[in-house]
Amino acid sequence: MVADKEKILKISGLSAAYEDANVINSVSLDVYKGEVLCIVGESGSGKSTLIKAICADNSVSVEEGSITYKDKVVTDLKAREVQKLLGCEIGLIQQNPWGAFNPIRRIDVQFKETFRSHGKFFHAERIKEIFEVLGLKDPDKILKMRPYELSGGMSQRIAIAAAFVLNPKLLLCDEITSALDVTIAMQVMQQLMELKKQQETTIIMVTHNLGLAKCIADRIAIMYEGKIVECAEASDILKDPQDEYTKRLISDVPRLRAI
């Protein structure tokens, strides 16, 4: 059932370094249109560097292999082309909720910048629709506020809105809930999934939290020391993990039980 799906992203034999340490060695991964792929790994496993490599961040130096998004080879694109690609084709949401916007300038002005950078005009309606889905009440008031005045949960929701507003085909999420409380994290996740359904976006979600991955992922890839040690359907991987590391990872997660 996976084979006939259209491939949106192809990572083949990628080796890359980040700040003098080669963090990814020969990773190959295919991502299919419309699916939610979770990459689970601990800190230092290279999962964040992989995300940076996909959106051609210049702090990552690719040594081997390539990343192709639809027909474009991302690793060879020039800065101008990368700028055009990011935002309307590939979206990015970061871990720090206040990492999406300049904290001291008004949110609507910064949305205008995003639109203007892609040759589009400020489309207030579009933003308000997305705010609605994300459960943000009173959008007009929010648009006039400055990010530093908002709580973590609200900031992250606006970051999600900013990613979705240009309706990207592929959305990269780098630990977007680890800075939030558990309850708020669950709400944000459901709202994100709602938007994904509406726009049929493909999502690559990087997290260290296996439990979270279980809730939303179609497929889960486990990363350890720069390699993908296992990649399979979410339900299969949890029921009978093949790789030793995955087994230990699953057993280490604290269970909610009464002593």
Binding site: E42, S43, G152, D181, V182, T183, I184, A185, M186, H208, N209, L210, G211, L212, K214, C215, L238, R248, L249, I250, S251, D252, V253, P254, R255, L256, R257, A258, I259
Partner: protein, 248 residues
Amino acid sequence: MDIILEGKKLNKSFKTGEKKTQVLCDVDFFLKEGEVLGIVGESGSGKSTLLRVASGLEKPDSGELLYKGRDYTGSSPRQTGEFLQILFQDAESSFDPRMTMERSIMEAGRGKKDKEELLKLVKMAGLDEELLKRKPGKLSGGQCQRMAIVRAFYSGAEILLCDEMTSALDVSTQAQVMQIMQRLKKEGKLSAVFVSHDIALVSEICDRIMVMKDGRCVEEGETPEVIGSPKDDHTKELIESARKQSIG
């Protein structure tokens, strides 16, 4: 087992610019010897502030703090350091970057220079002796936290206050650290207050659980009761989200 640490009607508020925010409102807590009390709550619930007030690092606006019945409300960290130690979320920054681990730990020993005991504790924490010579920058997060535990016990403190001590660690390292805590608990050497936002983790190690929300204690009781049949809505919500994410 009698009560060794107790807080009554604790209040605390912070003044940022003109507006005053009330962070603790009439909070009570107690800890019995050899027992681990878990405090769960979301960010901004006041759980860390409660810990800092209990440790003497911050003064409560009102309320009482007792150690084995003796009132130590206004006392300085120097005095509270006699009977308690605090473990921080960012373990690496709880050690001076310029000093080797050994010197930092010896510093907490209040003049005690007992290499044997130090080596015994290091072995107990499953760490290699070599690490004592290194500076915190060269150790991983997990190793630093375990060194912090060694320091706590080396200082002879009876009570451990753990402020989100494993939240910054990976799941596997967190598991290693919690194993040590479990072993200490079994050997009856550990009476601790364990603050965390992860209710699953708290349920694994703590005998009693206190749930906090917006500076108040909304629920308190033995772990099986609180987890099994939570009375407060917020506790229910916490347990529900945890259950959703549990691997089962």
